[in-house]
Symmetry: C3
């Protein structure tokens, strides 16, 4: 099996087991009508295919797979292990979780298994194996989908025991663990591995965000992410044993905090993810999530495994997607690297909690609905594209560093300011680039930094391993680097790097931060530029945190305008060998960030793809030296734009691009130079 697709997959989750068989043939007709070519099955069918401990029952699934194969669908086959069979819960209570409050769960929900339950491990691997063995030879199975949306945390006694083993592996001696967690603080020094308890509401936490010992809580995050990943690996390897060339994935969830997806992605053949923006999610946030998903495997295309064709059910307010919006969102995914467009779900459930979640086939049961018509039209678009974009990539000269350890640690800090969270800081820098239509990669700590001309690391709170050296090398060779307040503070055990902030970044940045002031929510300071070369206003606002900065080798670009540190540097620039490192010592207003980014990009010759308004998204995928420009109007109104692609052909309409183009509401163009 090649590790990419022959055509753009179009389809989604299908649960025929919820329906009588006489509906299945109608489903086939409707899927074909909508140009659907792929179906995801068996996601929650464990109890159907293994109705008791030593009984397997594949008749129904055989029938479904046969039907789909006959009709030439690309099948995404799930392993069904995301929801425990009731008999397993009853017979082996160790399979359910204990929550942060210490409450042992009975039965219910999904993604409800303890990752360290030996029972779960045994039977989840076994069912994956059975499936792989049975369907190994079916060439319609395009992708294997392990479990579903791995999720959450467990705090049971099994996890506690497994945590001790994990820690012993990591630290070897209890004294090294005591040092890593700074356990002499408050006299928590441990003398025996068995004295370790899981960090939750009954031990070191007073609520999920606040812990007395962040080193311990941080290790539990790592342990838990790894535990679930091992569940994934167990099943993956079981499939691989029977299907060596299988394309294997599990669906991720964007900026999902509990799981370190950079580690997960290394174990996955292809990244897939579920995109469920809220009614008020900005389009640039969706774009950032797509780029993060692409970044997990250093730029490889990914699968848009789930999105809703119309409304969701679990938001407080589940608006319908306006006509055209679902299409624009689908192409936004493709524009950022998706090679599939898949829905949850193809036919709406009749009962239970997702019955008000949209589907290609609504409760009305037929094709005469707006939602079906839009799905069908999109199907025709994608069919027209064929395999043109498959395996194409995105070229970015700017990278934003993203790190789960930093995210976890930053949000475990007690002080200095509880409003400081990780994602909004990342998003602010992403937005500055997004608005200017400058392609950007989200970059992990293990990635090659030297592919980029500009690296941005907002609140790089934790310096793991030799990241400081890696950054120094990057800048030394001419790179531009931007970082901010609350960077360089701690090592990977969340112990402060002593001697003065920003710790190991001090040399690179050429500054010493003596103190970090925290402003009340409605307080602000100002930023006053020293000269106006690129900061055009006389003064900018800043708030939240204010570093009190002493220049060591850096020069000041702007100074504080208020308070007892008025006149001290807030924005600095340090020439470091061939490159330059910038430091923003406070939470500056967006305009300053925008202007700084534009300036640094210009300085390095990094340019916009097009000069159009910010709500018109422009991006580019490249394949065989062809560049495919995506133009997406995210507004529900028409807008006239001048594009630098005059004469290019629109792959969707075959029209030639003019000097002025009128974009309709939610309009999409994919332009290529056909000359």
């Amino acid at each position: 099996m090649p590790k990419s697709f022959k055509r753009m997959l179009y389809g989604g989750d299908y649960n025929p087991e919820q329906w009588p068989e006489d509906i299945w043939s109608e489903d086939m007709r409707l899927f074909k009508k909508a140009e659907i070519n792929s179906v995801t099955i068996n996601v929650f069918s464990w109890v159907r295919i293994q109705p008791s401990e030593n009984e397997y029952c594949f008749e129904e699934l055989d029938k479904i797979i046969h039907m789909l194969s006959e009709a030439n669908f690309d099948i995404v086959l799930a392993t069904s292990t995301a929801s425990l069979p009731a008999w397993m819960v009853k017979r082996y209570p160790d399979v359910t979780r204990t929550d942060f409050e210490g409450r042992k769960y009975k039965f219910g929900g999904r993604h409800n298994f303890c990752p360290n339950s030996l029972t779960y491990q045994k039977y989840s691997v076994k069912i994956a194996e059975k499936l792989a063995e049975r369907y190994a030879s079916n060439s319609h199975i395009t992708c294997w989908h392990i479990c579903n949306e791995y999720h959450g945390e467990c705090y049971c006694e099994n996890c506690e025991k497994a945590f001790r083993v994990w820690l012993k592996d990591k630290y070897k001696t209890i004294n090294d663990l005591n040092r890593a967690w700074n356990m002499s603080f408050w006299g928590h020094t441990l003398q025996d591995w068995d004295e370790i308890v899981v960090p939750n509401a009954l031990s070191e936490h007073f609520e999920p965000r606040y812990t007395f010992f962040s080193g311990m809580s941080l290790d539990y995050k790592r342990f838990n992410s790894e535990g679930l990943m091992n569940n994934y690996i167990g099943e993956r390897d079981a499939v691989r044993r029977y299907v060596p060339d299988a394309l294997i994935t599990t669906n991720l969830m964007g900026t999902y905090k509990p799981l370190d997806y950079f580690k997960w992605a290394k174990e996955m053949d292809i990244v897939s993810w579920d995109n469920y923006p809220s009614y008020d999610t900005p389009v640039s946030e969706v774009a950032m999530n797509h780029d993060l998903m692409r970044g997990l495997k250093s730029g490889k295309p990914f699968m848009l495994m789930e999105q809703t064709p119309s409304q969701q059910n679990w938001q407080p307010y589940n608006s319908l997607k306006r006509p055209g919006k679902m299409r624009a969102q689908s192409f936004q995914a493709v524009a950022h690297g998706a090679d599939t467009v898949q829905f949850f779900q193809l036919r709406r459930s009749q009962g239970a909690c997702e019955k008000f979640h949209g589907a290609v086939i609504e409760h009305a049961g037929h094709e005469h609905t707006r939602v079906f018509r839009e799905t069908e039209a999109l199907g025709r678009d994608l069919k027209k594209l064929g395999d043109t974009l498959i395996d194409s990539t995105i070229e970015a000269r700017v990278g934003i560093l993203f790190d789960w350890d930093t995210w976890w640690a930053l949000e475990y800090t007690s002080g200095p300011h509880e409003d400081l969270t990780y994602l909004p800081q990342i998003q602010r820098y992403y937005d500055a680039l997004y608005k200017k239509h400058i392609p950007v990669d989200i970059v992990g700590m293990d990635d090659d930094f030297e592919r980029y001309d500009l690296l941005i690391a907002p609140v790089l709170y934790m310096i793991k391993g030799k990241i400081d050296k890696k950054l120094e090398n990057f800048v030394a060779k001419g790179g531009r680097f931007i970082t901010t307040f609350m960077s360089g503070i701690v090592d990977e055990t969340d112990n402060v790097i002593l001697g003065g902030y920003p710790g190991k970044l001090r040399d690179l940045l050429g500054i010493w931060v003596e103190e970090i002031d925290a402003l009340l929510p409605d307080h602000a300071n100002t930023i006053v530029p020293i000269d106006g070369t690129f900061l055009r206003d006389a003064v900018y606002q800043c708030n939240m945190l204010c570093d009190i900065i002493h220049l060591e080798k850096a020069e000041a670009i702007a100074l504080y305008g208020e308070d007892f540190y008025k006149g001290m540097p807030v924005l600095t620039k340090n020439k470091y060998k061939e490159g330059t490192a910038y430091y923003i010592g406070s939470n500056a207003e967006q305009k300053l960030i925008d202007e700084l980014i534009v300036h640094v990009c210009k300085d390095k010759g990094i340019s916009s793809l097009a000069e159009v308004p910010e709500f018109v998204e422009v991006s580019c995928r490249t394949k065989n030296n062809n560049k495919y420009y995506f133009i997406i109007n995210h507004l529900n109104e028409s807008v006239e734009v001048s594009l630098p692609f005059v004469g290019y052909k629109d792959l969707l309409t075959d029209k030639i691009t003019l000097e002025k183009e009128m974009l309709k509401p939610f309009d999409v163009k994919i332009l290529v130079d056909h000359s």
Copy 2:
């Protein structure tokens, strides 16, 4: 014992066991002075009359009953089982509850017993029996009051086991249960009754309102309501064995969600209830509650078992009732069908959590208080009325359908809009009628629909049994029917009726709802009438949900003014045989509802009792062809009104009604044509 009263009961809860006996005779004097003629006793005395497992001790109660009988009070005798004796909790821990979070309770509070505890069942029935046996022959006992304010839910293991039995009785086979709950969704299919767990925070719920499997949660509501009702029935039957003609009740609590009072009322000889409006409860909401209580037994008079003579203690802010307000509230109850006016409580507790709750005899201990004087004045009023109003009824041509199953299911939905709740929708239609002084009944699903000319069913989300046929018959014979968005969606297991909304009401309403849009809280659409025959404004606001409606047989009365469904119908009218069915596809502003109701009433010749401002309540009780008109000024200021009852006599003052009447603050008149 006849099933009604000889006089209007006036009195309330009395707890002499909290006081030394030398105070009792002072109580008797004060009760007589206030014209109190009825006393409720023994509500929380279980531990006093059964101080240990095999010891009964009636001396004190004998003395109290003797004293009250001698003084010719009508005694309401409670069975005392609402609060567990401490010894029982200590000896039989199964009697206490386990809560939604899975926490087992120790001892404390009240209404604190597990309905499925065999211990509780045994001893509650036994004490009721002992009381009935002992006091069967006392003719002063006018009413038997089982337990008190049945309340809450239990999730213990006994309940879990009982739930399984209840489900097996209902569904017979596990497959039928799987179908009813749609358990194939998320692979929850059960194979054995013992795999069922109670739906709470440790299983299918993530908070009380949100469940993964609404069918299961809905059945638990039914099971729990029935379980507590069986506690009631057990005691009721015990009393009946010794007192065959007893008038038996338990005090209900208005729109109390956990208990399906329509089912309960069938088991009660008379409905009684406790009226505790908050400081900000609108008077029309109180009126609706009274009408609901009357509706539970299809219009029979009820008891106002509890209200406070002055302030409450458990509100955040416990304002004093302004002078005259308690009297107005008391007569409001009578105006809606009450044959008693009873207080909690006659003498204020000295300690514990209700010591700041008002009482006829305050902590000062004497009659020289405003509260006592108002109680006394009301006593004289009621004495003057004698038995005039006893057993009189209320004639309404309009009914509003009310259904606990719909309430539960609607508020378990995940999507489309979390702000949608049942009671405010009911209240909006009630208010439209209330403001116009048009009598209305609250009607249960088992009631006779054909008594009415107009039936209103806001958000009739669930269609149980053959309600659709019953409604069709009603309209076919000339009835007017009004319903709204989110109606006709599901069957009684909360599974969607497939084929298109509003499901089984589609034929009656002549429409197909393709999609249901959910608007954000601060968003709105508009409603534009097609012609101005009864909607007088050019445009109305609507919000929350917007149905996208296709006309099948209906005609449009008004269209959406905004968004992509602008110009599509929002308000429709369908002639169905002799009658007409209206559908309101969005949450319209109150004015539109008011105008629609006025129009439909006029159309059917349903008229107001009087043309007076809306804060002057007008209602009417009828007996032996006499009509008694209640005029209640709910404002704390004077207002002049013109009543259509010129020449009628006021039963309270014997004055004759003039062309113009000045109503004092909180004034009350009961007018009858004495010509």
Copy 3:
């Protein structure tokens, strides 16, 4: 050991065990540089000095104490028992707590022991004994510090059993207990001590503030405070056995609700406390806390055991203390009676939850920081003062009564108004005096009332023992007394004093309160003075609660301006023998309180220390007939003042006070008449 200090202690918490030994000598150098003369050690070192059940290990502590002794530091030696060793938790799970929700804790945090655990009692006493035995002869140990910040509550089974014993001791018979708790209410009458359960979320509480049986909950508060106090006493007595003249304390926390510090203080040689104002704590609130701490031992000097030199970590927003502010706060403590200025902490932790908490030695690790420089400057100030102020006292003619029982009971009430809390009411009267620079004592119920000319008792809800008689005697002899609404209501079991509010204060106040109205949050009434002798405005606002007052012997000073009790008294004055008692029947606006206080003070010849703006604090300590006036500018800006201390010398600068003095931001003067 004398019971006071030879010099003003300056220093704070030091945790060398968190650091390698090579840092210790640098610490010594830096402490000396900052003029630090005292170090608190061993606060959380239990596991280090007792690494297992039968192993004690003092080498490290010996070394630390030797080093500090050699360098002539005053050592504050803690007993280390505030944080359980992990081995103890693992071996004896009874040492951990069960919380209000009934959840048993595992291991973690601090102040985490069950006060009734026999294991904890045994080992905490034993380690204190070991320490005392070992270091008894070290003359550098100036103070013994038992445990740390005693804290919180436990609800475990051991506590339940101990509670029963405590109650039996208190009430002797179960019937007396039933009466005290009014258990006949809701039929909770107990027949056996073993039927008692701890009052928490699984019994009589529905949340921490709301209880069904306040008498029981109140007793649990007393029991818990006493239980922790017995832990303190156990260790204290152990130290005393070896060090008979030890000065023994534990650090309190100001207005900390769970512990009745008036009872604790009787067991302490000197009060010490930890002052951690929030970013928005008014300076007058800090002042009140200092005065409360001084009041605990009837005016004796206290220790400021902890404050941060710069920022905190556990606030939502941890602002830096502006330059000069830490010094002003330190002298504010001294001005109110502190004989020490101590910090938490001397060197910042590298890890765990307090790593962002300020310290004298910051993470930078050297003396070249603003924080160090300010610490050093303050050290020089204090060195200059020497022992001048040691043991000096404060003379106040005004006292404000403060009582933990009243605080607990008032905030357990169900009704009449949930916004009524104790501390803000105390603070309002304190502020009236603070603004006028009139010295005030916070006075406990056992203190001598006759030391004062004016006693103020806001919301004196509970009348314990013979407090009514004590107040009558005070007024009878010419005292002025001011009290308010919600006073005199209950006895010490929280049962209402029958016969009319304000109960036993009725004779003293000469009024009867018939009813207590509760206003909604945005509602108000007005107060209209009868004559304008001291209330200068025509009308004042009041809100929350409005007593409906009947004059018995008192005269009205002001009347309600609105509502049905318009024209009835709200502010009254009763001449009682030689004195006068005032009653304020509603929550009056601050201006009225200010004017009343000024009037009453003037009337008794109580005058301001100085006429300066309210943000310039003025107070006075007296020793050997010398008066030391503290002038503290709490603003971060300069202000010119005229002080009545012309010619006095400033102890800090040796300058002579002029007619006009310009106070710098956060400036401090200590003036004494040197003529």
